[in-house]
Symmetry: C2
Subunit: 373 residues, 2 copies
């Protein structure tokens, strides 16, 4: 405990005797927290504090698995639009890292109706820290998952960001006809892989743009195995040969949906393949370059350019709508149409977590890093 | 008549005796036509040919006034997505220039029900040449205008492009609440001026972006007189002072609708003033530079970027819907809420037309150039 946090803790003790009494359950929470924004390996630290006592309207959950997503890291850096409040966690005023994860209900207050012990839950909103062993809170902070033994803990822990993003983008902007193409870049990303699989399951073909790389054929094989119809490189997009090739593939029905998580020049090239009245959805910006739109694409081809952000979707839609999506996705998983992401386990201790966060920043993690508790 | 056109005319005579018989009415059509794409003052020429005889399902109209719009010039250059077919016009195979204008019905075939002599009409679709004294064609090529003595011929002749574009953009993408702002650039354009007036009539405030210029205050006064709430320059858009100023004007309700006919850097700056979930509509590209979109605008602010093109709207909507819009606009005109554009008359002879088209290209025409027949 630093002098500062000890002073804070004392001030809180004096300020609210009632609040202190809450922190007196027998379970100890271990949580990876930060009290200021900054370089994650410097500002993140592991703290322990007692799990708040159960209230009539609260539940206790224990976490089973929580991934380390790129947005989690941006959030610790203070570079993400959702900035969790630094809350009184007993010993410190801090925010718990992480936004995604699956937990199991281990106790419920008397007046809680929607959840019971043994239920699997995810967080109701983005910004509820998931890098922690346990949490206590109002039942509405959590959302029930459908029961499905065929869906692994890893799939549950990585459900709410990537598969849900892919699902919504394929569903909410335009309904392509069976057998028609969609086109996406960043096809090897976690969302991209979910897009490939869901598109195939829904009877759609996909053009998948990836960056050129040494082992391109290996990647093409992997994505084709997942269900990609064609895999092309961003460098190929602007070429005459590729234009002719695509024309042949489309056979008069160019894609009406484009999904972009890259930005920059190749993202504009990709938009040129959309048909009239198409929709182009941006959900990421890996190239960190803006999207440049010739006016003719907007005016004469009537392409509409949207953004998509899963957190906002969850904020403005009901738990029922979200649950229905979970059920659809679980069905796909159960039928092996949507697999586990590639993942690598991370131990829940300060050193391992910091190492994992750094690996996440550098992009050299091998698959999705998932904390097991 | 050139050798080529004489040869063509002879070939047509031989090819179809029946077709030739059609060209035997007593009225002579004078039309400004082109038989190939190119520099307008070189490829445009005036031709005369007999008005085709009335058929049971056709009407005869005489034109009253037709503007020379920038898109008309692009069309002659072959640089516009709508390319009228070069049709058999008697002496030549050519397209008649112009796309907008008002005509009066002077004769109707026996089976024509929707139009009668004396009716004022506009063209049903873009691409029906309007730089001509008369036309004969199926009744469905023309669309009836509402009767309204308070609406001038100039207002009728310039109705279908600019006021309609302004009307649709203010109506179709988002419905701002009364008293809230919309923001637009190119505010001094014909569409821009219509936007100012319609917005005011509908209870909306407007931020109007114009290019900096020597007589800025004079322009500000003119636009304010039309109903502009505020007029700012594109250079001011990026400044801290303007950001604070806008914040004060918006008082917590930033605009949810932005209208762009410029493109380039200042168009991106303008988009930054939109509130969350706003809509940004591009209908022109005067700066001839693409629109550059930071991903955060799409993803986190959820701004949707649309294109708008009046010709497409007219192609996919019914005559009834278009008529309802005309009625609304005529009401605004009748109540002096939407005035005549600034305009200058053009005589309908080859030299005057060529001069006017050149003036249109250079942008030095004083107000909208309108051909009177």
């Amino acid at each position: 405990m630093t002098v500062l946090t000890r002073t804070l803790a004392l001030a809180q003790l004096r300020a609210s005797h009632a609040r202190v009494r809450m922190y007196s359950s027998e379970t100890t929470v271990k949580a990876m927290v930060y009290s200021e924004y900054g370089k994650p390996s410097e500002v993140l630290r592991m703290v322990e504090f007692p799990l708040p006592k159960l209230q009539s309207d609260t539940v206790h959950v224990r976490f089973l698995a929580s991934p380390i997503n790129p947005a989690d890291v941006n959030q610790v850096q203070g570079a993400y639009p959702i900035k969790p409040a630094f809350e009184d966690l007993g010993p410190v005023k801090a925010a718990v890292g992480g936004n995604e994860g699956v937990a199991e209900v281990i106790a419920t207050g008397d007046s809680v109706k929607d959840l019971k012990v043994g239920d699997r839950v995810v967080m109701a909103k983005t910004g509820y820290g998931t890098w922690r062993s346990h949490a206590a809170g109002p039942a509405q902070d959590f959302q029930l998952l459908p029961k499905n033994d065929k869906v692994s803990v890893i799939q549950q822990a990585t459900l709410t960001v990537n598969p849900c993003t892919a699902y919504r983008m394929l569903k909410d902007f335009v309904k392509p006809e069976q057998g028609n193409y969609i086109i996406q870049n960043g096809a090897n990303s976690a969302v991209g892989q979910a897009v490939i699989q869901i598109a195939r399951a829904w009877g759609l073909k996909s053009i998948n743009v990836v960056r050129n790389r040494p082992e391109l054929n290996k990647l093409k094989d992997e994505l084709t195995q997942l269900g990609a119809t064609h895999v092309v490189t961003d460098e190929e997009l602007g070429s005459h040969a590729m234009r002719s090739q695509m024309k042949e593939w489309f056979a008069g029905n160019p894609p009406l949906l484009g999904l972009n998580c890259v930005g920059g020049k190749s993202a504009t090239e990709m938009a040129r393949y959309l048909g009239h009245n198409g929709h182009y959805v941006t959900y990421g910006a890996m190239a960190r370059a803006p999207l440049s739109l010739p006016a003719s694409m907007l005016i004469f081809k009537n392409i509409t350019f949207h953004g998509f952000w899963m957190s906002r979707w969850a904020d403005v839609h009901s738990k029922q709508e979200r649950y229905a999506m979970f059920e659809d996705l679980f069905q796909l998983m159960q039928r092996d149409q949507l697999g586990e992401p590639r993942w690598t386990p991370v131990e829940f201790n300060e050193a391992a977590m910091k190492h994992a966060v750094d690996a996440g920043i550098s992009g050299y993690a091998s698959g999705k890093q998932i904390v097991r508790f």
